[in-house]
Every structure is written in structure tokens, then in C-alpha cells.
């Protein structure tokens, strides 16, 4: 549970690990009924749309909206997003 929470970057209080783990275990057990289905030789379906993605010309269509993009940020400085220090 702790590993999954770390992978998902969600801080879980330790008291919640066990109840959540039980709940997830129930959901996963319910999902395991898929093992009854023989899927040998069946390709996984990744999309219902056309399998090949369309290509477009590689040119700039928009941009230069720094003010607009930063407008929703919780913290900015001098035209940048601000995050806690990541290098020592």
C-alpha cells in the first residue's frame, strides 16, 4: 500500500493503509474474474478510433502565452513556475 501510494504521489496517513489495502484487495479480487476468459491470440484494444494516428505539419500554431499560462499557477517568480528546491 505504501509503495502504491508513493508511486501515485499521494500521502496516506499510516492509519489508512490497512483499510484501504483491504478495500483495494476486494476490488482486485472482483477483477480477477477476467481470468476465466480465454484471451490467447487476442490483441489488446488500445483505442476504438483509427489505429493509426494522423500526422500534421510540424509548424508553430500558437504560443507566446506566458502570462496566460502562468496566471493559474499557485507560485510564480520572474515568468517561471516556482517549486521547492530540487538541487543541493
Amino acid at each position: 500500500m505504501a509503495r502504491i501510494a508513493t508511486l501515485a504521489r499521494i500521502k496516506l496517513p499510516e492509519a489508512e493503509w490497512e483499510p484501504l489495502a483491504n478495500e483495494l484487495a476486494r476490488i482486485l479480487t472482483w477483477m480477477e474474474q477476467l481470468n476465466e476468459v480465454d484471451t490467447s491470440g487476442i490483441a489488446p484494444m488500445t483505442s476504438v478510433a483509427a489505429a493509426r494516428l494522423p500526422m500534421r505539419e510540424d509548424r508553430v500554431t500558437e504560443g507566446g502565452g506566458r502570462e496566460e499560462i502562468l496566471a493559474n499557477a499557485p507560485r510564480t517568480a520572474r515568468g517561471f513556475f516556482v517549486v521547492p528546491k530540487v538541487v543541493e
Binding site: L28, I69, F81
Partner: protein, 496 residues
């Protein structure tokens, strides 16, 4: 004082009244702005936009006066708060999107405004559209305008597009946009006694719609009639180069498909749907629906969709997997909520713990698990293989039939708080809507009757990919036969 009689009009009637100049767009919008305030106790809207609505209505009136009216000029609609609207708070009903005002407009809403529609506001939903009850919103649950006769307990409107459904049913929007990932348009439409259409995947652009599960998210209309759904879909649909899965196909005149003639069409009745815990009353309404279509000259045929029972577990692997990946973007850096921490990782973890509600958190954790090393093949790839088989079931059925008739949901609406402690019980609401979501097929819910409790029950027509015309044609006949005229116990402008 605005005129409440305007609130009873369908979209088609309002459009015709505006064209005849029986009333102005500003009069119609003023009546709806009042209605939006009046239904506040239902919590259907998160953000009403009355001033913007009146401005848009004024512009529509000027075009109407000049004789160059647009197809939806002056029609007041509600927008599910999952669609990004430029400069208007967009929340996805989540704490983590606090104060987010998009600098862009979603393709679908932009198309609606370019057709002349008027925005009344943004409607409430389950957080990130994850739910079947509209009770998981950070902004509080939505109440249905319906009550069981003699029972005053508030009921859920269904979900996740519950605010849109409640607003349309309670006459506080002529129509609304919804999104459907596993049934989120059709099930609330069924619970609230309105029409909900999930188009084919790729028919309406997903660009600017907050992503839940990208291979399953379908924008679509919620309306009072099938004709209104055809009109709305026409305005919302069309190819969009900004969504790589948007279909480069022309948009047909959906309203022209409502001929009333379904003679000779073959209607599939999937036998497996009977086994999936269906109550006798739902089965009776389903049978009645088949009889109505038969009476109109269609030909009911029993079909088999053998993979039906595996659709729910397949969906509840694929949708959380895609969600866990899509929702990784909420990190407290670029928009929305931020909880400070000593390191970058701690800031992420604290922000996401505070910002996501329990159901969203649960799905992110399930999705993270099924995508993690060692489990990816057993869960995620397995589910994608079963998804292929589910799509194959439908393809085989559509070699024999022109559409499929099924119930929309296994029951009528439940009370707020019921089912909430058991996620799997809640997931079972989606049993009849999820298979066609996985296959990306068009499906519509039409009000067909009342349950023993006096609550609306919808029936679903599922069609071939990109054949919304046949779906609408049959739905129109079903609607005419059902003659569903019941009104919820709480509607705006009611002077009874």
C-alpha cells in the same frame, strides 16, 4: 418578473418561438437565470454565469433581428463543469482545481457558442466525473428534482453528469452538455426522466474536456426530447484536428433522421442483459419497449453478447489505469491547489492527498497498481484483450441487427447515501452502459416509464459506430410510443 411558461418549452419549441419573435432571447434567458437561482437547493450548478448569459442573449437578439440567426441562437444551456470555458472557473468538482480559470475554450463549447447558444453556467458532477450518483463532488452532492411520492428523502440524480441532468429536468436549462465514460450521460438521464445521448467515440472532440479516461471519454448532449438531442449533437459534433482521436467525417443532419419510420429495422434484445441482476419492473419496461418498437413495424430479434458479464471488471481496470495517468498532471505546480512541503516530492504528495476526494484517490491507487511493474500484464493487458472481445461481440451482433434495445440502468434512482459504503455495489449501476462505452458505440437513453416507486426509468438504444441517425430514428419512435409526460416534484417556475 420573467415568464415561467417559457421554461416548459423544448429546445425545438424555443428555437421556433425565437424565430417567430414570440419572445426575445433576453426574455428567455432572464427566465432561465431566475430558474437557475430558484433551483439552488438542488446544488445542480457550481458556477452560474447570469451576466454572461444576458450578454450572449443580447448578441443573439441582434442577429435574430437582422435575419441572420445561427442554428442555436438564444438557446440557454448548461455546461458540465468538466468542459474548459475561457475565463470561467472550471473545477471538475475537485478541490485540486481550486481557482482554475482556463485560458482556452473546449472545442465542443466553442462550437455551441458559435452556433449562438447561451451559457447559463457550469453544472455540478462527481469529482473528475468518477461516480454514478453526483455525490462525490467537492462542492457537495446534487439532489434530484424527483422524489418518491410520499417519501421526502432526497434522491441522487445519477452521475456523473448529475448537475446537468437535474438542471434540464428541473427546467433550469433547455439542454446541457454531459460527458459519458461508463454511462455518465445515460444513467443520470434515466434517473431524471430526460434524454441523454452518448455519441460514437470520435464524433465530438475531447479537446478542452478535463480528461478522466481518454479512450472512453465521450462528450454528448442531455435534453428533454430526442429531437433536441439531434439538434444539440449537430452543433457539438465534427472533426477537430486538436483531438487526434476525433473522426474526420462529415456531420449528418441528425434532425432529418427523425422520420418516424422504423419499419423493417431489426432490434436486438441481448439475452445476457436479463441475467445481470435485473428487477422485474425494469424487465417489464424493457419488454414494453420491445413491444412498442414491434408495433411500429420493427423486428425484435434475440441476440447474444456473451462477454457482457466481464464488461464491468474490464472497465474498472482500464478507466482507473487511464485516470491514474491523466491525473498525474495535478501536482500543485502549474494550476490549482498547492500544499507546501519541504521537498518537491513532499509538495506533490501533500497537494494530491488534500486535493483528491476518496473515490478519486481510490481509482488513482487502483490504476497505479494495475499499471505497476509485475501487474501490468495480468490486469491492464488482460483487460484490454477482453475489451477487444467485447467490441467483437457487438460487431457480430450488428451483422444481424440494426440496433440494440436495453435498459439504461438496473434500477431507478436511489437515495443520497445509499450504496456509498460499497464501491462495487456502486459500480454495478453501470452494468448496462459500460459495454457500449468500451466499444465506443453510440447509445441514447430515452424516458420510458415510471418504476413502482414513481421514479423515471429509461431505455437505451445502442447503434453501429457513427450511425447516430438510426439510433435517433428509433429513439424518436420509442419516445413517441412511451409518451412520458411526468414532471418532477420540483421544477422551476412552478406556480401550482
Amino acid at each position: 418578473m420573467s415568464d415561467p411558461s417559457l421554461l416548459a418549452l423544448t429546445l425545438a419549441e424555443a428555437r421556433d418561438g425565437l424565430a417567430r419573435k414570440s419572445f426575445s432571447a433576453r426574455e428567455l434567458t432572464a427566465a432561465y437565470n431566475d430558474a437557475v437561482s430558484e433551483i439552488e437547493p438542488l446544488n445542480a450548478y457550481i458556477t452560474p454565469t447570469p451576466e454572461r448569459a444576458l450578454e450572449m442573449a443580447g448578441a443573439a437578439d441582434r442577429r435574430l433581428a437582422k435575419g441572420n440567426a445561427l442554428p442555436l441562437d438564444g438557446i440557454p444551456i448548461a455546461v458540465k463543469d468538466l468542459y474548459c470555458t475561457k475565463g470561467v472557473l472550471t473545477t471538475a468538482a475537485s478541490h485540486i482545481l481550486d481557482r482554475f480559470c482556463p485560458p482556452y475554450e473546449s472545442t465542443v463549447t466553442e462550437k455551441l457558442w458559435h452556433s449562438g447558444a447561451v451559457m447559463l453556467g457550469k453544472t455540478n458532477l462527481d469529482e473528475f466525473a468518477m461516480g454514478s450518483s453526483s455525490t462525490t463532488s467537492f462542492y457537495g452532492p446534487v439532489e434530484s428534482p424527483w422524489r418518491r411520492p410520499g417519501d421526502n428523502r432526497p434522491l441522487v440524480p445519477g452521475g456523473s453528469s448529475g448537475g446537468s441532468a437535474a438542471a434540464v429536468a428541473a427546467r433550469a436549462a433547455v439542454a446541457a452538455t454531459g460527458t459519458d465514460t461508463g454511462g455518465s450521460i445515460r444513467q443520470p438521464a434515466s434517473y431524471c426522466g430526460i434524454v441523454g445521448l452518448k455519441p460514437t467515440y470520435g464524433r465530438c472532440s475531447r479537446w478542452g474536456v478535463v480528461a478522466f479516461a481518454s479512450s472512453l471519454d465521450h462528450p454528448g448532449p442531455m435534453t428533454r426530447t430526442v429531437r433536441d438531442a439531434a439538434i444539440m449533437l449537430h452543433a457539438m459534433a465534427g472533426h477537430d484536428p486538436r483531438d487526434s482521436t476525433s473522426a474526420p467525417l462529415p456531420v449528418p443532419d441528425f434532425e432529418a433522421a427523425l422520420t418516424g419510420d422504423i419499419r423493417g429495422l431489426r432490434v436486438g434484445i441481448p439475452k445476457e442483459y436479463r441475467a445481470e441482476g435485473m428487477s422485474a419492473e425494469i424487465e417489464a419496461i424493457w419488454q414494453q419497449g420491445a413491444n412498442w418498437l414491434q408495433g411500429a413495424g420493427a423486428d425484435p430479434v434475440e441476440i447474444s453478447l456473451p462477454m457482457t458479464k466481464y464488461a464491468l471488471p474490464t472497465y474498472y481496470i482500464i478507466a482507473p489505469a487511464e485516470a491514474s495517468s491523466n491525473l498525474a498532471r495535478y501536482d500543485g505546480v502549474r494550476f490549482g491547489l498547492r500544499v507546501e512541503g519541504d521537498s518537491l516530492d513532499e509538495m506533490y504528495e501533500l497537494t494530491r492527498a488534500a486535493g483528491f476526494g476518496p473515490e478519486v484517490r481510490r481509482r488513482i491507487l487502483v490504476g497505479t497498481y494495475v499499471l505497476s511493474a509485475g501487474y501490468y500484464d495480468d490486469y491492464y493487458l488482460k483487460a484490454q484483450r477482453v475489451r477487444s472481445l467485447i467490441a467483437r461481440d457487438f460487431a457480430a451482433a450488428f451483422e444481424r441487427v440494426d440496433c440494440i434495445l436495453a435498459p439504461t440502468a438496473p434500477s431507478a434512482a436511489f437515495a443520497i447515501g445509499e450504496n456509498s459504503d460499497d464501491p462495487i455495489a456502486m459500480y454495478l449501476n453501470d452494468v448496462f452502459t459500460v459495454p457500449s462505452s468500451l466499444a465506443g458505440l453510440p447509445a441514447i437513453s430515452v424516458p420510458a416509464g415510471l418504476s413502482r416507486d414513481g421514479l423515471p426509468v429509461g431505455l437505451q438504444i445502442i447503434g453501429r459506430a457513427f450511425d447516430e441517425e438510426t439510433v435517433l430514428r428509433i429513439a424518436y419512435v420509442l419516445e413517441s410510443a412511451a409518451q412520458f409526460r411526468q414532471v418532477p416534484s420540483f421544477v422551476a417556475g412552478d406556480r401550482r
